[in-house]
């Protein structure tokens, strides 16, 4: 057992989770605070026969993993704000061409070069809407290393299940903090492999014709089925088309395959919600001080609870509506100017009961900060 306990950085926990999930191709470009992921994988990927590729920029890295995914590999790239901005066009390509891949963004302060060595959660909306055009996307996050590991594995599973890029939105505090990770045993967390077509060689294979269950079996580049992959609107052969009905159908498909499965994609944790009058909603490193504060005030009899989101997109509006139905106050704790709070307001019946507790100076929000916000919200003064 003791063999399976590691003490490491969140970034390393992410890299370990990826290896557990079967990652065998990583491409990246160094950037703080994500670089340790690349370093860890440059050491450990070739040990298992995998490939580490350092490209000339983040755009190239994103493109390279898409190419490698098409040959049948599990792929990932990792970056932070400026690099995440650069990757957006190619992320959209992966959305359109339905290529499974995992994109890690260890958030730092932005915009621009911003606050490189400090924490922020300012890229939540960029993860959702960063690439142009209508689409949907999956984004997961985590507040501790055990969950970083688990969510990384989940990201690979969801990428394969839905044939889509999945964004892992971590942050500087989680990425750089060191804490314990209990390495799961082999087979402890189920893995989703590539769904490959059972069409025989010589039989027409349609790369973009969904099965009855909506999934699209793939065929490895270099295998027996040759087909076209494009970022243009395309037909079931993968050949470009601008026929209105084909365009409409594909656009719908790209959004529906994710939005219609919010329930299966949603991951969350809840603490003391049963009798909570005030419900905090938080995620990533901000969820840690929030939980601390909730637990310490509970001891004094305050009916506080925490809903920690791990799936940020597609937004679990139904879950929030249900969990917050009886809450007097709903306080969203996040380290930005209010990105998830907006979604929460749209999700609940009484948006006037929803408040933001935030910190945007590059420092981790503290239990004291959150408590101050709560007192103001409750009309008790600062």
């Amino acid at each position: 057992m003791s063999n399976n306990i590691k003490f490491l950085q969140g970034n390393e926990a992410c890299a370990e989770g990826a290896l557990y999930a079967g990652l065998d191709f990583f491409s990246g470009y160094p950037i703080t605070p994500s670089t340790e992921i690349a370093e860890h994988l440059s050491i450990n990927l070739p040990k298992v026969g995998g490939k580490y590729l350092q490209m000339e920029d983040e755009i190239g890295a994103m493109c390279a993993i898409i190419g490698a995914s098409l040959t049948g590999h599990k792929v990932m790239t990792a970056t932070s704000g400026p690099g995440f901005s650069l990757k957006q066009e190619a992320i959209g390509y992966a959305v359109m061409a339905e290529i499974p891949c995992v994109v890690v963004n260890v958030q730092r302060g932005g915009p621009s070069t911003g606050n490189p060595t400090h924490v922020s959660q300012g890229d939540v909306n960029q993860a959702r809407w960063g690439t142009h055009g209508d689409h949907s996307i999956i984004t997961l996050t985590a507040s501790n290393h055990q969950d970083v590991f688990a969510m990384t594995v989940e990201a690979f599973n969801l990428a394969e299940t839905y044939r889509t890029p999945v964004i892992l939105l971590f942050d500087e505090v989680v990425g750089h903090m060191r804490e314990k990770l209990v390495m799961p045993e082999q087979d402890e967390i189920p893995l989703v492999g590539r769904l490959r077509t059972d069409c025989k060689e010589g039989v027409d294979y349609h790369p973009y014709l969904p099965r009855e269950d909506g999934r699209l079996p793939m065929s490895d580049f270099g295998g027996s089925h040759r087909y076209n992959v494009t970022g243009l609107y395309h037909d079931m052969w993968g050949f470009p088309t601008d026929k209105p009905e084909a365009v409409r159908e594909l656009c719908r498909h790209l959004v529906d395959k994710i939005e219609n499965n919010v329930h299966s994609i949603t991951r969350f944790k809840e603490y003391y919600l049963d009798d909570a009058r005030t419900i905090f909603i938080s995620y990533g490193s901000a969820a840690r001080p929030t939980l601390h504060m909730v637990e310490s005030r509970r001891r004094r009899g305050e009916r506080l609870g925490l809903l920690e989101l791990q799936t940020l997109w597609p937004f679990p509006a139904g879950l929030i509506r249900e969990k917050c139905a009886d809450a007097r106050y709903i306080v969203v704790v996040e380290m930005n100017m209010g990105q998830i709070v907006r979604e929460v307001k749209m999700a609940v019946k009484s948006p006037e009961n929803v408040f933001l507790a935030n910190r945007i100076d590059g420092e981790l929000i503290t239990p004291v900060d959150i408590r101050k916000f709560l007192r103001i919200i409750q009309g008790k003064g600062a």
Partner: protein, 268 residues
């Protein structure tokens, strides 16, 4: 016997204008592949965005039509993840050397076994005739109405300096030479860069009063010479064609295999 029909007839007619040089490149590329007796399943063609990049849709290989300028980056991922595949990357001059210039020099520097074909028509064809980095000083384009003040550079010199281990140039007039060079480039182990001067009569030709496609190809005949020709001493404006570099140097995927051996502790 391998199926010799390399064309996806279902996807025709093609989008190119009458007289466009890109169709000639397609023809000779397929001729080269046929002569090399390559199997369709072992070829991956990746391309970016542009008139030239549309080639990938028409050929019956594994084809990856990507985003503007990034074809070589996608190709690098395909190749390193599956080194036994043959990667062919046709690109426009804008695609390869403006937006994609960085990927071009770095793919050359890595010497990864990819064949890059730069179909140089000295213009942005697909977007309607704006000047490209290869248009050259004094030319005209829709965005250079008073003549172009941007200087071009020499693709061959760039590829050489960046470390490509096979570098060649040819034109759409010299079709036999083109097929031969493409054969050598595909067989070469390492990064090969082939510049093909390819006419865009619709925009570059019209804007610069160069006549029709036939006139433009005549011009390729008259303005170029075989590499090493004495004629260039008398007329330094002549452009050399042929193979400029063909050397053995360590190929990226093979080098990475050694890294794997080192990491696994199976090498000395």
């Amino acid at each position: 016997m391998e199926d010799k029909n390399y064309i996806r007839e279902r996807f025709f007619p093609h989008i190119w204008c009458p007289g466009c040089g890109h169709g000639i490149v397609l023809n000779n590329l397929l001729r080269a592949i046929e002569q090399l007796k390559l199997k369709k399943n072992e070829i991956v063609m990746t391309s970016g965005i542009g008139c030239s990049s549309r080639i990938s849709g028409y050929v019956d290989f594994h084809t990856l039509h990507t985003i503007h300028g990034r074809a070589l980056a996608f190709a690098t991922g395909v190749k390193l993840s599956r080194p036994e595949l043959k990667l062919i990357v046709p690109m426009g001059d804008g695609d390869a050397l403006a937006i994609g210039g960085n990927h071009f020099i770095h793919a050359a520097r890595r010497n990864i076994d990819i064949t890059a074909i730069i179909m140089n028509n000295r213009i942005y064809g697909m977007t309607g005739g704006q000047f490209s980095p290869l248009s050259g000083y004094g030319t005209r384009a829709t965005t250079a109405p008073y003549t172009n003040i941007d200087h071009d550079f020499d693709v061959v010199e760039l590829a050489k300096a960046a470390g490509a281990s096979f570098v060649a140039r040819t034109t759409t007039y010299h079709v036999k030479e083109m097929a031969d060079i493409l054969k050598q480039a595909i067989l070469h182990k390492g990064f090969s860069a082939v510049e093909v001067m390819s006419q865009c009569p619709t925009y570059f030709g019209r804007k610069n009063r160069l006549g029709d496609a036939v006139d433009m190809m005549e011009h390729y005949k008259n303005s170029t010479v075989r590499v090493g020709s004495k004629k260039i001493e008398k007329n330094p404006d002549l452009i050399e064609r042929g193979v400029f570099v063909e050397k053995e140097s360590p190929e990226y995927c093979s080098e990475y295999d050694k890294i794997i051996q080192k990491a696994m502790g199976t090498s000395a």
